[in-house]
Amino acid sequence: MAVPKRKHSNARSGSRRAHNALTSKQLTSCPKCSTTVPTHVVCPGCGYYMGRVVMAEQQEEAAAE
């Protein structure tokens, strides 16, 4: 049966994981209510999206349930 000849060094594990980093979500602030929101989404605070309100507050909450 094939067995490892040498100990797998920490550096080897580290180099393998060099490309595994996660990227954080791109955040922006809502131009209407200044809540921090991800880009290209309807604002969860005020329902604002691209120049108009598409969703009143209580509807956003209702949809979230």
């Binding site: 991800p38 999206y49 691209m50 120049g51 108009r52 598409v54 969703m55 949809a63 979230a64």
Partner: protein, 242 residues
């Protein structure tokens, strides 16, 4: 190789996927039904009332499902829109008399009835084609009666998909709104007043500063607006605005 493989499988078998798409498309059309239709409707427990949707013409689903069902919805609307001129043409030969009255019977025997049938045939065909896609009579009726007339003359782009910020609680899926355009459209931002050239005899310094600043700011605004907009929606919006 991935050649010619289109669409998402959504973790479903073919038949399950087709059924899902039909249900989603029908659900979107059914949101337009009259509030009275919800009177006396109860959920499975037999006690909780079924409420009409808070927003007509809108469903909330995952972004993937919304994007998948969008083409189906739009195809249905296109077919329905093409039937409208035929229905209008058939109106000329129709009768207002109630069914099985003597007036109706004379119309039924007359030449007008044959003409009406011939004129209606393409519209009936369109209804059947849409029904074969949706398999829901009520949804088809709402589409032809209510939704399609709103979009007559619009060259596609009847729906829009918008992402929501909060993911689903159970599986962290990205939620999105799928809705008909026409409501909640973007309002065109009021453009800055154009510099007038009437006051040419005004001091030269003022004139140059005004003309230099304004076009630059306008262009910058337009650039950011188009960069933010998804291409399809931008095209759709522009056509409504113009």
């Amino acid at each position: 190789m991935r050649h010619k493989r289109k669409g998402r499988r959504l973790g479903r078998s073919s038949s399950h996927r087709v059924a899902l798409m039909r249900n989603l498309a029908s659900a979107l059309f059914l949101t337009e039904r009259d509030d009275l239709a919800y009177e006396g409707l109860f959920q499975a427990d037999g006690k909780t009332k079924v409420n009409p949707p808070t927003h007509k013409g809108r469903i909330v689903t995952t972004i993937q499902k919304a994007k998948e069902v969008k083409p189906l919805v739009e195809k249905c609307i296109t077919i329905a829109c093409k039937a409208i001129p035929h229905e209008r043409e058939a109106e000329k030969f129709a009768t207002t008399a109630e069914r099985n009255t003597s007036d109706w019977k004379t119309w039924r025997e007359s030449e007008n009835h044959a003409k009406w049938v011939a004129a209606m045939a393409p519209a009936v065909n369109a209804r059947r084609r849409v029904f074969s896609m949706l398999r829901d009579k009520e949804a088809v009726a709402i589409l032809f009666g209510d939704v399609a007339p709103r979009f007559e003359g619009r060259p596609g782009g009847y729906t829009r998909v918008m992402r929501l910020a909060k993911p689903r609680l159970g599986d962290n899926g990205t939620r999105a709104i799928l809705e008909f355009v026409g409501k909640h459209d973007r309002v065109a931002a009021a453009s800055a007043p154009k510099p007038s050239f009437a006051s040419d005899d005004a001091p030269a310094a003022e004139e140059t500063s005004a003309t230099e600043e304004k076009p630059v700011s306008e262009e910058a605004e337009a650039a950011t607006a188009t960069a933010e907009a998804p291409a399809e929606e931008a095209a759709a919006e522009e056509s409504t605005e113009s």
